[in-house]
């Protein structure tokens, strides 16, 4: 057990799984870096440095740089998975799923069912998401609700290094396709992470904090903001429960509903766009599963429904904040 960043936790998971299982390989744009460019091997390790060091250990056979052909290499991963390998494909930014969306929507998500249970596509797709870095409309989206909408894939959304390691291990060992979301703002976050491997099962939410007054359900990096909000509120004497679903497909509705019903008040915090997002999904759970328990209107804390602006000032106004979450909680208590 030692303190590690999310970046390092993900990297050590990849290394462990590649050592454990020769079928595991990683593929993506600049995932090693320097392909075809003598003299600068392993300079990058992906645009966020997550896969740095893999090339030296596993060589070009298992650490594969690609051209900018997401449909091609995601499809390659799908085919390799069908053939029994365990590809870990990186789509550099979640926004780029646009150019290879069909391979998710109509292919990897459909195979097992559509081919009568006879196909198996054990692929893991890692991707980065999230705003806050001046990356503007095409490099800052969250988008995971769209993937949760598609039956046939699993979606992990870790909020800390420990969960990242356990969920990624589970993803790689899973017999079905998983999309693994890494928030850009969490790569440098630190936390305790055991050195040995462990699996966090999908579909088990974490109750991060317990308090009787209001339940906050938050996703990914929003869990950090929720914790800050909870601190602010605690100083005011308001006790909150925080639930971090960790995976959104499958979703641990039991734990979430129990927490909502226990508090009678609900705030949902989601970095994704507000319509048909996870905030609505959780609010809907309250309405379908425990409406009688609700003592106040559910509050959604999300960005507005606009593309993500570039200017730092506008982007700051766009994103949820701890203060906005605290205000929403206070509102449920009025």
């Amino acid at each position: 057990m030692s303190i590690k960043t999310t970046r390092d936790a993900i990297r050590e998971t990849l290394i462990a799984e590649m050592e454990r299982d020769p079928r595991v390989f990683v593929i993506g744009e600049d995932i090693a870096g320097g392909m075809g460019a003598p003299g600068e091997q392993d300079a990058w390790g992906g645009v966020f440095g997550v896969t740095k060091g893999l090339l030296g250990r596993f060589g070009r056979e298992r650490v594969i740089d690609t051209p900018i052909s997401e449909t091609g290499f995601l499809g390659l991963g799908i085919g390799a998975a069908n053939a029994g390998l365990r590809p870990v494909v990186e789509i550099m930014f979640v926004d780029f799923f646009g150019v290879c969306f069909d391979q998710v929507l109509n292919n990897m998500a459909k195979f097992r069912y559509m081919y009568g249970g006879k196909a198996s596509t054990p692929i893991t797709v890692r991707t980065s998401y999230g705003a806050g870095f001046g990356a503007a409309a095409q490099h800052s989206q969250a988008l995971y609700p769209m993937f949760a909408h598609i039956p046939g894939i699993k979606v992990a959304l870790p909020s800390n290094p420990y969960d990242a390691k356990g969920l990624l291990t589970a993803a790689i060992r899973d017999e079905d396709p998983v999309i693994f979301f890494e928030h850009k703002g969490l790569y440098d976050e630190q936390g305790e992470v055991p050195d040995e491997s462990y699996v966090l099962p999908f579909g088990e939410a974490a109750v991060v904090r317990e308090g009787k007054d209001c339940c906050i359900v938050a996703f990914g990096r929003m869990v950090l903001l929720a914790r800050q909000a909870a601190e602010i509120l605690a100083r005011e004497g308001i006790e909150t429960t925080i639930v971090d679903p960790r995976t959104i497909a499958p979703l641990d509705t039991d734990t979430i509903v129990e927490a909502i019903a226990g508090c009678g008040r609900l705030v949902v915090v989601d970095e994704a766009s507000p319509v048909c997002g996870m905030a609505s999904e959780i609010a809907a759970l309250a309405a379908t599963e425990c409406p009688r328990a609700l003592k106040a209107a559910v509050q959604k804390v999300t960005p507005p429904a606009v593309p993500i602006p570039f200017s730092p000032a506008l982007e700051a106004a766009y994103l949820p904040t701890a203060e906005a979450i605290a205000a929403a909680v206070r509102k449920t208590l009025q």
């Binding site: 056979e61 051209p67 995601l74 499809g75």
Partner: protein
């Protein structure tokens, strides 16, 4: 006129050709009678393409197909009954009735499935090829696609990847002259076979109605892929003879689920969904393949029905 290669079992080859044709001919009747749900695309007339390629393949080799896959399924060794049951949506079907004509697959035979998104299966073939290379196996992956599919971005990206990663993949482009109603002569700029050249992939054009032509020339590509070396990937543009034998129609055998749905003019359109006679627009070359094998008794029925899909009112 091609000579018959010594290693070719002509009787087996002819059996396969006949099997593919018979299957489609009988299915065509069932479709015309309204007994087949959903969308069905017949392979009649293109038999020599699937058979000529698959004669070079073993179960361990992989085939990635399109919406028009019955022939690929059978040529790759898939079970006839499982195919039929699947197309009719029955238990015991190749996919337990969950897939239907557009998704027939036999994974145990390396038939990775019909895939009804045009172009979508091409990258899976390079994935299969990647797996062969990764494991040091000598398998070959074959991607089938139509002239229409040749204009989807996925195929180009796959050719580039197959080339630079040096993967054992054969891209077969079955040009039957049309993508639905749109002529390939118009929709496909340049000569399809030359597109591979832009990626440095060797390519060849074959007569998709001539079994010997397909068998012989494709054999070179398959061997190149299997034996490795610097030019593993191949592309082949396969001109198939017949017009599009496309029959899409509505199911009738199903009970109406909602009583308020009054009968509409759909009903009359259904009857129009019968198979139209050959429209004579396509070059009606006979299947030289069969003649070469001196067993041809029948010309391919170049039936083409352009009746569009008519939604049934549930």
């Amino acid at each position: 006129m091609s000579t018959i290669p010594a290693e070719l079992d002509v009787i087996h080859a002819y059996r396969m050709l006949r099997l593919l044709r018979e299957f489609e001919d009988q299915l065509h009747v069932a479709i015309a009678r309204g007994n087949v749900p959903g969308f069905t695309h017949l392979y009649a007339g293109e038999e020599a393409s699937a058979v000529g390629v698959c004669l070079h393949l073993a179960d361990r080799d992989v085939l990635c197909s399109t919406h028009r896959a019955h022939g690929h399924f059978l040529a790759k060794g898939g079970d006839v009954d499982a195919l039929a049951l699947e197309i009719f949506g029955k238990e015991g079907g190749a996919c337990g009735g969950k897939g239907g004509s557009m998704h027939v697959a036999d994974w145990s035979r390396g038939m990775w499935g019909a895939n009804a998104i045009i172009g979508a299966s091409v990258p899976h073939a390079i994935g299969a090829g990647f797996a062969f290379k990764y494991r040091g196996e000598d398998g070959v992956a074959v991607s089938f696609g139509g002239d229409g599919a040749s204009n989807q971005g996925a195929g180009f990206e796959s050719m580039n990847l197959a080339k630079i990663l040096n993967l054992p993949v054969l891209f077969v482009l079955e040009d039957n002259g049309y993508a639905e109603t749109t002529a390939s002569g118009w929709a496909v700029a340049g000569r399809p076979v030359e597109r591979a050249g832009g990626f440095g992939i060797p390519s060849v054009e074959v007569d998709g109605t001539d079994l010997l032509d397909v068998y012989t020339k494709i054999g070179v590509g398959v061997r190149r892929a299997r034996e490795g070396g610097v030019r593993r990937s191949s592309m082949c543009a396969c001109r198939c003879s017949t017009a599009i034998t496309k029959v899409t129609r509505k199911p009738t055998a199903r009970p109406a689920r909602s009583s308020s749905c009054a009968p509409s003019r759909t009903a009359s359109r259904v009857s129009a969904c019968r198979c139209s006679p050959p429209d004579g627009r396509m070059p009606r070359r006979s299947t030289r393949s069969m003649r070469s094998a001196r067993r041809a008794r029948q010309r391919p029925s170049s039936a083409r029905s352009t009746h569009r899909f008519q939604p049934c009112r549930p």
